[in-house]
């Protein structure tokens, strides 16, 4: 009897530690395992088609960074797909005037939609997921309208930019900038503080409203840039351009180990590991010959399992 008493608290502690260990390493281990698994199952086709697999990751990874910032603050953004669609259309239109103008135009378009989200979220005090679901539908409508007769296609010269080197470089530059800002500036600490306790963050001197506003604008702008990467790959935008990007980002971040409520426990690695894991999973299943329907079903199950593991139940109530 005495022995049991002494051991009981220890057992509890081990379980707690093990859980946080699992949370920390599961995404990375998962990535390696899933990669090896699909390689074996597809007889090495995955490694051979690495650049094809990777070509899908850039857009998700870049836009996931903006959403990562938003989610760190405890917000959500479901309008990413529509932002990508609209920005892609703008990039296509402007590409005949030059590539720089096209890129800037895409960024501006994204930033403006971000600003609309931010205005309603911050100054009209509507929950972010409600606002962004509304703007998602609103701008999806615009995209459908603009592509009614035919897909919008960009200037033919755009295809010339479609090289792995360029896309990889852009992605790396953006991620490095984001990493430094998140990890080594007041910006990052402020984001985490807002996610962990907004009111207290305000009383510690953080301009919370201003910060929330500009993070939504920033996230829109980042996805606006991702639209350029998207357009040089696909060449034209159809009515479904950018469709479901928001869910893909959300799944990627959660697969990467990001707690849905944000706060101080998020890690920048979540973006990279998560996006890769999502793409490997996605391409692997496709290569295995699963149908789209089957794909969604499997991904849904995986998503649910990961959310269940990573949900930070203590602070779930702070989703804004």
């Amino acid at each position: 009897m005495e022995k049991v008493k002494a051991i009981a608290p220890l057992g509890g502690m081990k379980k707690e530690n093990m859980m946080s260990m699992i949370r920390a390493i599961l995404p990375v281990v998962g990535l390696v395992l899933v990669f090896l698994l699909f390689n074996t199952l597809t007889a090495g086709r995955m490694t051979m088609n690495m650049s094809l697999v990777l070509s899908q990751v850039y857009v998700i990874m870049i836009s996931a960074m903006g959403v990562f910032f938003i989610m760190t603050m405890g917000g959500l953004d479901f309008s990413q797909g529509s932002i990508l669609g609209i920005s892609s259309i703008v990039v296509c239109y402007l590409s005949q005037y030059g590539v720089v103008i096209a890129i800037l135009g895409g960024i501006a378009a994204g930033a403006i939609i971000g600003m609309i989200n931010a205005y309603f979220y911050v100054y009209r005090k509507i929950k972010s997921f409600i606002v962004t679901i509304c703007t998602m539908f609103l701008f999806r409508g615009f995209i459908k309208y603009l592509t009614t007769n035919a897909p919008v296609s960009g200037s033919a010269t755009l295809i010339n930019y479609d090289s792995t080197a360029l896309k990889l470089t852009c992605t790396i530059i953006i991620l490095v900038c984001g990493f430094v800002a998140f990890r080594y500036t007041r910006f990052g600490t402020g984001l985490r503080a807002i996610g962990a306790g907004e009111k207290a963050a305000m009383f510690a001197g953080i301009r919370t409203d201003r910060m929330k506003f500009w993070v939504y604008v920033l996230s829109g702008a980042i996805t606006g840039f991702a639209a350029f990467i998207n357009v040089i790959k696909v060449g034209s935008v159809t009515s479904s351009g950018g469709n479901q990007l928001e869910t893909q980002i959300l799944i990627a971040l959660v697969l990467g180990g990001m707690p849905i409520s944000g706060g101080a426990k998020v890690r920048f690695e979540n973006i990279i590991v998560g996006s890769l894991l999502y793409i490997v999973l996605n391409s692997g299943l496709t290569m295995m010959g699963f149908s789209t329907q089957m794909l969604q079903l499997i991904e849904g199950v995986v998503f649910l399992v990961f959310v269940a593991i990573f949900a930070d139940r203590e602070s779930l109530s702070v989703i804004k």
């Binding site: 008493k5 080594y184 985490r192 503080a193 207290a200 009383f203 510690a204 001197g205 301009r207």
Partner: protein, 500 residues
């Protein structure tokens, strides 16, 4: 009073990670007594009662109530066993009516064939409100419509209407005004007369001695002793709690010091709708200026108004150099610090590390030429100031949510000492904090004063205002109703007269 035992606590243990919050505690609570549970912050009082009322699970050990082992898994089960609790913070749920709050978890009483009879519930609640004498509270109104005090009264009904065998009152009195306390005392006596037992947690030792029959002392999660209240005096209790002789002055002991004529902050015609009306005062260099009053007197808003945190404030808060303070970042930039009464929501960022919490307002200063932060530098900074005022922690990476109330307050203070603020606004700085940390905070305030910092101290505890302040301003209904200068002759009664 009898020697019959109501509740036996046997070899109780509870750990959080590596911390043993309650370590093999055993004692008995007699029938028909008020049994005080005292100890410093983090000594395990709340952990113990939370296990009794089913809020925490029990690691090992047992509770035996009237000879029967009980093991409640939640508060409703605890209620069914005859145990209830009135918690330290708000224990009523917003968005529900008064009646719904009272009968939360026990709606079955009013359910027939799956349908809840709201009218019957309201009737029963009204009956109870009347019986308790809380006529101003209406059973069918949303609980949100009532202030903190009235909501506490609702909790009193909720916890006692079913004649429980054991009622836990956890640190409730510090949040109440004198009037609310009297009300609570009345019901504690009533429960005792009815043969029930009250487990009473309080940091106010005078109150403990006055109210209780037995006193159990805990220290660092361990049982120290259980004594009859009539056999001890306050000093002995302090010694037992801290584990050593508590010596030295509790408050300041200097009188007649001249306050500097230099005005560091002046408040002109400040009005906050519904809170403050035309407030004017000046804060001098090296002064501790106290604000007292009833909790609804608007005094807590003074702190927010000075810190630029009030919503819709009119009037002017001006510093010595002419800067006007209208928002929090400006206030912090110009060396004003503020600790809120609502520590968990407005002072500390709960789900964040001690390091980040301490560094937050100083991030500008901590950045290098390129405004980049360094983990090493921030860690060193946080460590220095946390160690300086001895925050009890594993390391600065620990989350603030794991700390006890007193240590959270220390983290907030470390933050502002680190920022080297010249004007420090402390709202209820010692609320719910044990004597040892209290003493630390008083000493710290005295030290700051001597270093030429100016302090505004807002408090509901009149003794600490009298003990610490150079001047005390008393508030009533959002206005200043009087002012008293520091002297040995000031006593509570002269202040209370101005308050009501």
């Amino acid at each position: 009073m009898s020697d019959d035992i109501r509740l036996e606590v046997k070899h109780l243990c509870k750990s959080f990670g590596i911390t043993k919050a309650v370590n093999d505690v055993s004692f008995n609570v007699r029938k028909g007594t008020i049994h005080a549970l005292i100890g410093e912050n983090g000594s395990g009082k709340s952990t113990l009662t939370n296990m009794l009322t089913g809020i925490y699970s029990i690691d090992s050990g047992e509770f035996i109530l009237d000879g029967k082992k009980i093991h409640p898994k939640n508060q409703v089960e605890a209620n069914n066993e005859g145990v209830s609790i009135i918690v330290q913070e708000l224990g009523t749920l917003s968005g529900l009516t008064v009646a719904e709050n009272i009968f939360l978890g026990h709606e079955d009483m009013f359910v027939k064939a799956g349908i809840k009879n709201t009218a019957a519930m309201n009737r029963k609640a009204t009956e109870l409100l009347k019986k308790y004498g809380f006529d101003n509270i209406k059973a069918n109104k949303m609980v949100d419509e009532y202030n903190f005090e009235d909501r506490k009264l609702v909790e009193i009904i909720k916890a006692t209407y079913f004649h429980p065998k054991v009622v836990v009152i956890d640190e409730t009195t510090t949040a109440l005004s004198q009037e609310g306390r009297e009300e609570l005392y009345k019901h504690m006596y009533r429960i005792r007369e009815e043969g029930g037992s009250v487990i009473f947690i309080s940091h106010d030792l005078q109150e403990v001695l006055e109210m209780s029959d037995d006193i159990t002392i805990l220290r660092d999660g361990q049982y120290i002793d259980t004594i009859r209240a009539c056999d001890v005096v306050e000093e002995q209790l302090k010694t037992l709690m801290v584990g050593r002789e508590v010596t030295g002055a509790y408050y300041r002991n200097d009188y007649g010091d001249k306050i500097s004529d230099e005005v560091v902050l002046s408040v002109k015609d400040v009005t906050v709708p519904g809170e403050l009306k035309n407030i004017n005062f000046e804060l001098h260099k090296g002064e501790i200026l106290g604000f007292g009053g009833l909790s609804e007197s608007g005094m807590h808003e003074i702190g927010k108004a000075v810190f630029g945190a009030s919503y819709d404030r009119e009037g002017e808060v001006r510093l010595e150099d002419g800067t006007t303070i209208n928002d929090i970042p400006t206030a912090i930039k110009h060396s004003i610090a503020y600790t809120s009464k609502d520590r968990d929501n407005e002072s500390v960022v709960m789900n964040m590390s001690i390091r980040d919490n301490i560094c937050l307002p100083s991030l500008n200063m901590l950045g290098n030429k390129l405004h980049l932060q360094s983990d090493r530098r921030n860690k060193k900074f946080a460590n220095k100031f946390a160690k300086d005022i001895s925050v009890k922690m594993v390391n600065t990476d620990q989350f603030v949510s794991q700390l006890s109330g007193g240590n959270k307050q220390k983290v907030v203070l470390a933050r502002w000492i680190g920022k080297d603020s010249d004007i420090v606004v402390l709202d209820s700085p010692t609320r719910g904090i044990d004597i040892k940390v209290k003493q630390d905070i008083y000493q710290l305030m005295d030290q700051m004063r001597k270093n030429g910092k100016s302090i505004i101290m807002i408090s509901e505890e009149l003794m600490e205002l009298i003990g610490m302040c150079d001047r005390i301003i008393i508030m009533k209904d959002g206005k200043i109703s009087g002012q008293i200068n520091r002297s040995e002759e000031v006593n509570e009664h002269s202040l209370i007269e101005m308050m009501v």
